[in-house]
Amino acid sequence: MSYLEVLNVCKSFDNHRVLKNINLSIEKNEFVTLLGPSGCGKTTLLRSIAGLNSIDSGRIFLDGEDITYRNPRDRNIGMIFQAYCLFPTMTVYDNVAYGLKLKKMPKEEIRTEVNSVLESMNLMDKAKSFPAHLSGGERQRVALARTLVMKPKILLLDEPFNAIDAKLRKSLQLTVKDIHKKFEMTSILVTHDQEEAMRMSDTIHLFSDGVIEQSGTSNDLYLEPTSEYVATFMGNYNVIDARDFRRITQGRYQEGRTVALRPEAIELEKQKFTDAGSGHIFEGVITSSVPQGAIMRFGVETEGVELNVDVLVDKATSFAIGEKVHLRILADKILRFDS
């Protein structure tokens, strides 16, 4: 049995099935992400693991124990909420010490434990501050400290980076990842941000309407999506009706109902390709360009179909909007979906 086992879990709200027979196994020290759009059931599953939601059927095992009907306070699970949910009336020190005080731990021991975790989170100088006087990043570190001091069996993170600006978000993501390693945690992150999931996770479970659509490493989901939904969610794929793609390739490509092409898998050149290789070559006209950091995303129109093509930014300067270009896609980069 894995460290955390979720077996056949179902949950409905007002006759709407939010979780449809979910099965999930998570190993100790693994960093797992539940990824998906809003309303797909990922937060409901997280809350069910924490015991904050009851489930209609199924079982949840943690560290070999059945915790399905156990009160949240007896599960030894730590959770970081989207809004951090610090106690506004308590100082940072008292927030972190709260759980230990409830355990009736001796005062001296509490002080040692709290100071040690505040030290590791660089929060010692904020110990006497109230949450209202802290920045977003500091509040999140307090929430983490408050949870970690309890030495939980598993750490649940419910979209904790949503309310933070892009630069700080990346640094906090690294902090969480470091903490995960340093404290040898088992962590589950809920997010709708595919880049965040890919940056942080050992395993990603992609949700769609109450079911897990695909599970695997970030590379598995990005390079080998098993459905059109996964392709669209994970990689900004160009998902094209097979009939359109047949027209682009002048009838040479005959398979599937839809095809998916990764933007960076399509080659873009000013000169005509001399060799199609194992794939297809075709022409198009650049209609748009959007800078995306190190890459430039071009919109290219070919046979009435708009394709996104990613090019490294230093090469991109040579292309202009309205310019006629040549494109090549190798056969092994074409993903085919039949249903």
Binding site: R75, C85, L86, T89
Partner: protein, 268 residues
């Protein structure tokens, strides 16, 4: 001028302006009552009120009547706030009971309690109980609605956090819910203090054996306006003292709150 001085100045200025307005008003009152062309029998005047207050205090009457009113007001605040907080907490936790009883309590609070004051005097007699009941009821409606609103508005995530950290429902109530609701409870109490004073005084108007309200009606019937004004001064002092106590409690209990103003910073 350093920043601290700049911050202090508006407060000092406000205090000076306030004092000037009050002193000017008192002096004008004294002047027009003595040298103007209206009869001061209806208003008395400051020097006469001071003289009467001294007589009122030295005769032992002030202590006797003020202590009755203070007992009624404090009794009302004590019972009204304890029952208000307890019921609001109960209905906050037991949602179904809240749905049944809260509209009934809201409907009751719409009835002007002063209109029912004669009935309370009939029920509980001319003694302290009828005034404590009336003052308590008026405090209760203020404190109950403020506390119930605060509990219903609590962030569910905070309660869940406490639960995940090992708190029972009672521990969550004691350590998280009540402290978080304090701004609203104190605001309800502040309204309750004024309501309690009104309740006690009106109760005494309607039927009592003593108290500042009773003294006001008694003195009015003999056109002793100076005594009426002396009683009002004592009530003013009582109200201000209770508000000051609440200020001190607020400063101590609500240190965690950020205080904001609606104004925006002026750009130079």
């Amino acid at each position: 001028m350093n920043n601290k001085d700049k911050q202090k100045n508006p407060a000092h200025l406000a205090l000076i302006i306030r004092t000037v307005i009050v002193v000017t008003g008192i002096l004008a009152w004294e002047y027009f009552a003595n040298y103007g062309n209206y009869n001061p029998i209806f208003t008395s005047y400051p020097s006469e009120i001071v003289r009467d207050s001294i007589t009122f205090a030295t005769s032992g009457q002030l202590y006797r009547h003020a202590s009755i009113t203070i007992k009624e007001v404090f009794g009302g605040i004590f019972f009204g706030s304890i029952i208000g907080i307890a019921l609001a907490t109960f209905f906050g936790y037991f949602d179904f009971a809240g749905k049944i009883f809260t509209p009934i309590i809201s409907a009751f609070s719409c009835i002007p309690q002063l209109a029912l004051a004669p009935i309370y005097v009939l029920w509980f007699g001319l003694g302290l109980q009828s005034k404590i009941f009336l003052a308590g009821l008026m405090v209760f409606f203020n404190v109950f609605s403020a506390t119930y609103g605060a509990i219903k508005g609590m962030d569910k995530g905070i309660l869940e956090s406490a639960n995940l950290l090992g708190a029972t429902e009672f521990e969550t109530l004691r350590t998280v819910v009540m402290p978080s609701c304090m701004p609203w409870i104190l605001s309800g109490l502040r309204g309750g203090v004024s309501a309690g004073l009104v309740g006690a005084i009106i109760g005494e108007y309607i039927g009592a054996k003593g108290g500042l309200g009773w003294m006001i009606t008694y003195s009015t019937s003999y056109f002793n306006i100076s005594r009426v004004m002396s009683c009002i001064l004592v009530l003013l002092a009582l109200g201000l003292t209770m508000n000051k106590i609440l200020d001190l409690v607020e400063r101590r209990v609500l240190a965690w709150r950020t205080v904001t103003t609606l104004g925006t910073e002026k750009l130079k």
